[in-house]
Point group: D2
Chain length 505, copies 4
């Protein structure tokens, strides 16, 4: 990524006390510590979106739908409805159930809505960035909710500022509203033009006084499904949200597609040709809920197949198989079934831990006070343990978990990872650390094994992963974005055209 994208400094005061955050858009990603998950050192999804058109309970459905997508963003939640030419919205910091109560939902009338959950980082946690963003423009009201990332947002922002635009947030999403408002064309054409200028991976929901517009980036990087409930249409980042509200799944929104819903019904349109479908592989491996389907593939089943594939590629004899909760339980059971080694609850997570939990002091931590994860002594003591996890980012978490198992008496700990080494940043909406902090960027597998104190370590092969995910027939490898493993990004051409480097030298 070229210099112009580096060191873009975002200065933000905020509702909650004016914290200022420096966030770099490439190369030197700032590690935004998350009070909640730091020990787990996990990748974080950017967001989840949920839209309704034509159902009288739009706000209540959004509440349950966003609740089902809560794992995609725990920082803030918001719903905007449109009712007889007027917008009604509420946004707040926290979980869906914290932001909304009965009264709030009832104060949001209307049969169409868009909703959003946003991921959590301590540094940039602020109300001003909560979505949906709502604007007033020549055409009336405009609300926008998005999941993903626009790589060239800083360039577009500078261009708009040069023309006299003022911004309220540091959010990429505000850029699209300006592009639409400044276009002299009619709304749908303005939206298509605006999307044509974006480079990145995203799912967009746009609400106006009389329309709902839905779009997915030209490679379909971020998941987005369409369903039906009664007479209404439902859109959601994951199919589990359809299931939760009792809606019927229709289909996944296609790459480059633009759907317009208004009083004339649903109109299927495109703002870009489908060039290369590239669904984010990490959605399959880690992010999406196990009961969701992406492109008709169930996630729990795919993860069990990853576990089985790991057993095929790298069998080790052992006494017990355990998975790191919650994400790797499915894979661990797959591994156990494939090998006949019993699956046991070797690690347990305290389900009550959350944002407001007091972290133990360094001193207490050293004395043995556990965070939210514990090893179960009776299960692992004197045993050879196979520990399944989904990825290794910095390696710090893996080391801690291996050590937890050893302190609880495990004789051997064999680590099996359901993804290839994660060695490159994501540009499409997953919050990844700086490439230099990715342990797989600078270390060999053997070096990582030593760093995490494991007796053996194996990463699922890229072909094995593609096979396990399945369903991407023919050129399966081209149906997934594997950029974080392969350094081969689907928008490589656009990066070059825009003279934006991805650091992929």
């Amino acid at each position: 990524m070229p210099d112009e994208l580096i060191n873009v400094l975002h200065q933000d005061g905020e509702q909650n006390g004016g914290t200022t955050v420096q966030r770099f858009w490439t190369g030197d990603y700032y590690n935004e510590g998350n009070g909640r998950d730091d020990i787990f050192d996990k990748l974080k999804e950017e967001c989840g979106v949920f839209g309704v058109y034509g159902h009288p309970d739009a706000a209540a459905l959004s509440y349950y739908g966003l609740h089902a997508l809560q794992h995609r963003g725990e920082e803030s939640a918001g719903i905007c409805t449109s009712d007889r030419g007027e917008f009604h919205y509420h946004r707040g910091m926290g979980l869906v159930k914290e932001v909304f109560d009965q009264g709030r939902i009832e104060s949001l009338p209307g049969d169409r809505s868009i909703g959003h959950v946003r991921y959590s980082t301590a540094g940039e946690s602020k109300l001003a960035n909560a979505q949906p963003l709502v604007f007033k423009y020549r055409g009336g009201d405009l609300a926008v909710a998005t999941n993903g990332n626009i790589v060239n947002a800083p360039n577009l922002r500078r261009e708009l500022e040069a023309q006299g635009s003022i911004f309220q947030t540091s959010s990429d999403t505000e850029v699209i509203a300006h592009l639409i408002a400044r276009s002299p064309k009619d709304l749908v054409e303005a939206v298509k033009d605006a999307f044509g200028r974006l480079i990145g991976g995203y799912a967009f929901l746009i609400l106006t006084n009389d329309r709902l517009i839905v779009a997915s980036d030209p490679h379909g990087l971020r998941p987005l499904v369409m369903g039906r409930l009664g007479e209404g249409y439902i859109f959601a980042s994951e199919s589990c949200a359809l299931e939760t509200i009792g809606a019927t799944y229709l289909r996944d929104v296609q790459p480059g597609e633009l759907l317009v819903l208004d009083k004339d019904g649903l109109r299927e349109d495109r703002f870009a040709q489908l060039e290369r479908r590239a669904v984010c592989a990490m959605e399959y491996i880690y992010f999406a809920r196990p009961d969701s389907d992406i492109n008709a593939i169930n996630l729990h089943s795919a993860r069990k197949r990853m576990g089985r594939q790991l057993a095929i590629e790298a069998f080790t004899d052992a006494d017990v198989v355990t998975g790191v909760p919650d994400s790797s339980i499915s894979a661990a059971i797959g591994y156990a079934e494939q090998t006949g080694i019993p699956y046991e609850l070797g690690l347990i997570k305290n389900k009550y831990t959350g944002r407001t939990f007091i972290q133990p002091s360094q001193e207490l931590r050293e004395k043995g006070v556990k965070m939210k994860l514990s090893a179960v002594r009776k299960v692992v003591e004197g045993k050879r343990v196979v520990m399944i996890d989904d990825s290794i980012v910095r390696g710090t978490t893996s080391l801690r978990i291996v050590n937890l198992l050893r302190e609880a008496g495990a004789l051997e700990v064999h680590v099996r990872i359901t993804s290839p080494p994660f060695s490159n940043p994501c540009f499409y909406g997953i919050d990844t650390p700086d490439r230099r902090d990715l342990i797989a960027h600078s270390k060999t597998v053997e070096e990582i094994r030593q760093a995490i104190n494991a007796d053996s370590l194996y990463f699922l092969s890229q072909p094995g992963l593609i096979e396990a995910i399945g369903g991407h027939d023919g050129e399966t490898d081209r149906g997934l974005c594997l950029g974080c493993f392969s350094n081969d990004y689907p928008t490589q051409t656009e990066f070059e055209d825009a003279k934006i480097g991805c650091g992929c030298d």
Copy 2:
């Protein structure tokens, strides 16, 4: 006011539940009921502003300064500081002491700041409108705090929207930020151009990363004073805020003046010629705190003189003089001193009443449960009472107070008002009801007397008011805005040029 300004509909969702408010900018003013003050039916000031340049305790001084200006706005409060090229701010709903705590103040570093308190109405009470408003633009950060009203804001807003601007708030203040951001000139010239386009009455504080800009409208309608504390400059809506923080009063900011403070110190400039000074008379009569001075006239003293003048113009023999608390105590004492009739505490206000107070049900109210005001039986029973108040808006409150006195045994109630009949709306920042709801617009004094159930009623004459305020030597009547009494507005010419009617036919 012409049609184009009538029926401008502001649709606002909001942070707190998406209440939608219709607010008309002329003719049909919407009566925004205020849970707190409805029984008093009082006029409401729009806001108070406070600025610091060059003092290390900028945020803490703002806290105490805004606290001293709290009576000018109880709805929301905010402070924005600038520190080494970064903005820090916090805004919230409620009183200064509710919005800020020690930690909040400490999280606002810097030696310059602007702060704001906003008036309270139930309908439009929303965080999004809390000031200072903060924007990002080509030149960096920009924060704006204002007191007053821009009459042609809707026109300017439509013009900007037509050029593709998007708005986040329904506030007039956002217009000025757009005008500044769109100007290709340097900041100070851009600001001067922007002010040149405004019609109205206002005091403005504008903070950028390296400057504080202060301005008062061309007629000086809203008060704004300048003081000094140590090396720093202080700006405040009223002088009581200077006194509170121990600052020395320097002078009132002059009509049309533009002050620029930066690393080169204070520069005195103008964006408009002073044509006709016109300070809001209601500031003298009611709004400003009695311990404030406006143009070197102390308010308590001026109000005592109004009371004395009333006694001269309309003496009535009586047993006791009482004032409606808190605003009319000074005038009541003046009346008592002039007449020799003893001043007594005939009415008392419960000082604990506030926003969260549960209003008595209609049933309990009818049974005699008092709101925040009570008559003191022992003081008024069997007495002829002179009751001093500052104004009559709709008349409903006056009726209730007269009746309270009668129920407590007053034999006669003679009402004396320290202002002429209030028969026209204000266009410069005071929240007035629709002209049709102003009792003095449609009724004679005798009809009003009957409507409020008084034994006699007298309004201070316009010359008497001017005399009592004093200090406006020579053409004193031209030194005050008396538009709400006289229907003669200082921006009459601009109204005509802009083809904006004031309804003053």
Copy 3:
């Protein structure tokens, strides 16, 4: 007071974080700093009580009644109702309007209730001490609310503990509940026996499942009035609460009286002979609201008479008279009327200051940041000022106020106090500092004058005070408790019988 009462240590954990407080019951009173009022160094009333029997809106009336009594206690508030054999109650920290909302009031059904507001001190501020206290005993439910102090409570408590009683609070009030529960007699007799054992000054409201019992100590030290609203009876610490709810005043509850209200109506009884009536003089001088009457004497009028009497006893020529708000405004007006010197607003209090207000740092305070009180420069500059206040406790506040006036340019400051020197502690419910900290205990008037930096100082004479209060015909001095001025306490005999010293050597 003998040794056994000295150094009684109360250790209290609390709801709000387990603060531990040492409070001595005599001699060495602990100075419990109150964040709110420390600069004013004011005496604090212990509490206010409010009771309803036989009105369907018992809880709502209590809300408005307690609100009217809020000045008697700002720390906590509580209401307990009885409905068809069941108790319902709610208590909380804060003002009445903070503790109760619509839902809370609606959750308190029943036609009888007792309510309480408690005074505020930082040290002992805790939910556990909020009243009404509610207990379960052999006879069912029992709730108690009290205003005042039981001098021999520590002795009674020790006696009860020796018999195996356990206590939940450090409140005197819990003692009476134990005494009642342990008596084998029927309730009314048990209550009479229990009161017979108490030494002190108090007003008591006791609610059981079927009765309301009301009592005043044998000397009537604390005020308590009875009124009527519809079919119901109302009891309140001050008559202003009757006025607020529209109730008719019947009479003051008499010393030693015990009123029982049940399905048979009101029964008037006694638990003690009236020996010497002794109403607290400080209620007249400072505590009670100016619109209240005690024993048919209006407080505002009495205070005006105190001001007049001061002018008679100690006239000084001056330019303006001012009162320390809010308590001394009435007296200042009296002084002004008597002398013809104009009353002016020389001191002003910020009405928004309250518990959550951030106090200025020592540094800012030295730089001139004012707390809640300011002098009005325009009014006092170059003037000779007579400043009226109600009492001088430690002298620190008086010094600050005199200095405020001098800094604002007053040429001379003549202090006139509407009470005799306060040189002895109160044992009956007013929170006074240790005798050694009472400036009048150790210093002459001239020494005090120097200490507070006044040009002259005069304390109202004791006969002048009695005369100004008035209405206590015949042996008027015996109708008031003047112990804090005279060291002559109404329960002197009981002190001696119980071998309790009052330190009055």
Copy 4:
């Protein structure tokens, strides 16, 4: 249970609005609906306790320890510490992480403490019942925390009330404090006498200014373990809390044991002979965390054995095995391993659901909006499903889950329960519905199968359960309390002696 225990009415006002609850102590148990878990119709544990003696971080350790025990009580949490003769405590409604923050923990100094988490029911949810309860008595301060139930508490309470005791709560725990305070003996003897009077199942922690006393009922019904951390002793309801803080497990506290810790160290004593050990079987089946051990038996392993045993006793051919999350996952994996049928994620629980979650309206529920549990269509569609659960209480939840699976396309649903039919109430601290509402009390297995719409249903046999739990050698059935299955209660003799019926005719 005899009449005298029936219809004991507890009238409680409360901190949070004075809700009144009727709770019957026998026969007709009142069904206290829990907003959180009603769809699951689950049994609820009464509480969890945690104690520290001799560790400088007592409060912080209690925080983490109680957090590990959070599943035993989500309603309220509290910690009381003792430091140099003074108590410090804090209690509140909500989860441990909600009740305590850093400041609260730091305000609790001392090296010894007791803590408590309390179960949640909507009806009786009140602060007054939060533990530890803290009292003042002759000997100083006394705090008590308990898990379990005292069957004869109402009798003891009446006896104490007859002697003049007053109560603050409706909690059984207050009875023991009275018994101790009324005893003339020294503390330890008084405690032993007091426990000697109790009938029931309980674990007790008692803190005084200088001692910690720990006791388990004579049959060891409720679990309680002892551990060591540095120089300190730790006590906890479950061993997972020891593991969480890094403490070493020493042993389970024995039935009838009384441990005294003071400056002389640990003294092991008894207040009762061990007659018949009877650990609650439901702790093994459902309540305790899978990573805890009770009497050295790991719960996850025991539950896997229950699943295996079910497969042995009642094998059915099927396509997938699934468990009802979270409690039955271990057993489902056991069943899968025993049979070779793959374990799949057929049911998924939304981990974010909690107290404040808005329940869907009946209408939305009927339209298909799911509560917190969903079936995974891709996993169960067209499959024969074995569904493992731990118990059936009323049957309503089982019916809903079976229907969820069917609606998601399951061809057959075979329900396997890891406990015998639950047909009798618990008297020892588990909140069970009225016997008439227990489906197994009135229906045969076949009738239950029909009621829950299952294709087949099997309950684990009592011998099979005992075998699966294991470790209770010799007379294993006498080492467990199986009263809820067998109607044979360990305190049968005491019931008869005290003429208390258990309804076990």
